[in-house]
Amino acid sequence: MGFMHWFYSLASPPHVYRLAGRACPWFAGLAGVFLVAGAYGGLVLAPADYLQGDGFRIIYVHVPSAYLGMLAYVLMATSAAIGFIWRMKMAHGLAVSAAPLGAWFTFLALVTGGIWGKPMWGTYWQWADARLMSELMLLFLFLGYIVLRESFDDREKADRISAILAVVGVINVPIIHYSVEWWSTLHQGPTIAKLDEPSITMDMLIPLLFMLIGFTAFFGWLLCKRLQGEILNREKRTRWVQELIRGASA
């Protein structure tokens, strides 16, 4: 029964607010450690790739942000679906706070992907690259979600309608990804095929894992911070918020 109790305790805003507050410093510390270690490993320790030289070091930034964009979207869709089915405000709050972060990291993945493409393919934007195209579609899905949510004035309706969009979106993400994948193999120019995933040796892989953990911790930290802001936004007229704020600031 522990799980159900824990699950329903997530529905009470003060509990979630405290939980997020306690988690913030842990996530921040974890992010700092792993990011510094990963960056140092990636830039200095890892050997240059025989084919792409040092240009390949950009994957230590491109791959984690792309992964984070996807993680944020899936997290947003599941928490929106949970909020929709069990009518939990906190789950909608989590979806709201995950959306801008996901959009920013997807944008970051596009930019770093473009910069990585310049030395490799000679152009910043390579339409034929399946990864960049599905990243771009993911960014549009994020922006669509944020724009739709902002265009409602009643928050309850904004939550539930954008939850449906998130669920429909998350079903479409794999379909879009595979269709773009097939499309790029259809139009694959010779230049892209040989420069695809560089063969990753062990000492190249460890910094990448560090960076992945660091990015995820960073995402967790900002997610908790935004979630706290969102809870205050939703519960600003309740007693516990007033005591919390009055108490803290008095």
Partner: protein, 56 residues
């Protein structure tokens, strides 16, 4: 660093910039709603009790 130093550092630079921007945005978001909560104060309108009258 080979000829790609410019690209590598610009990529890391942009990543750092976006990260710092997000940290600042998250803390400002939290602070904004904290002030808004201070201004709003308690919910004054507590729900009125409706009266149900029997008409014989």
């Amino acid at each position: 660093m080979g000829g790609y130093a410019g690209y590598v550092w610009s990529a890391y630079g942009i990543t750092l910039a976006v990260m710092i921007a997000n940290v600042w945005a998250a803390y400002r978001y939290h602070a904004k709603w904290r002030e808004r909560a201070l201004e709003e104060g308690m919910a004054k309108i507590s729900g009125r009790q409706p009266r149900v009258k029997k008409i014989s």
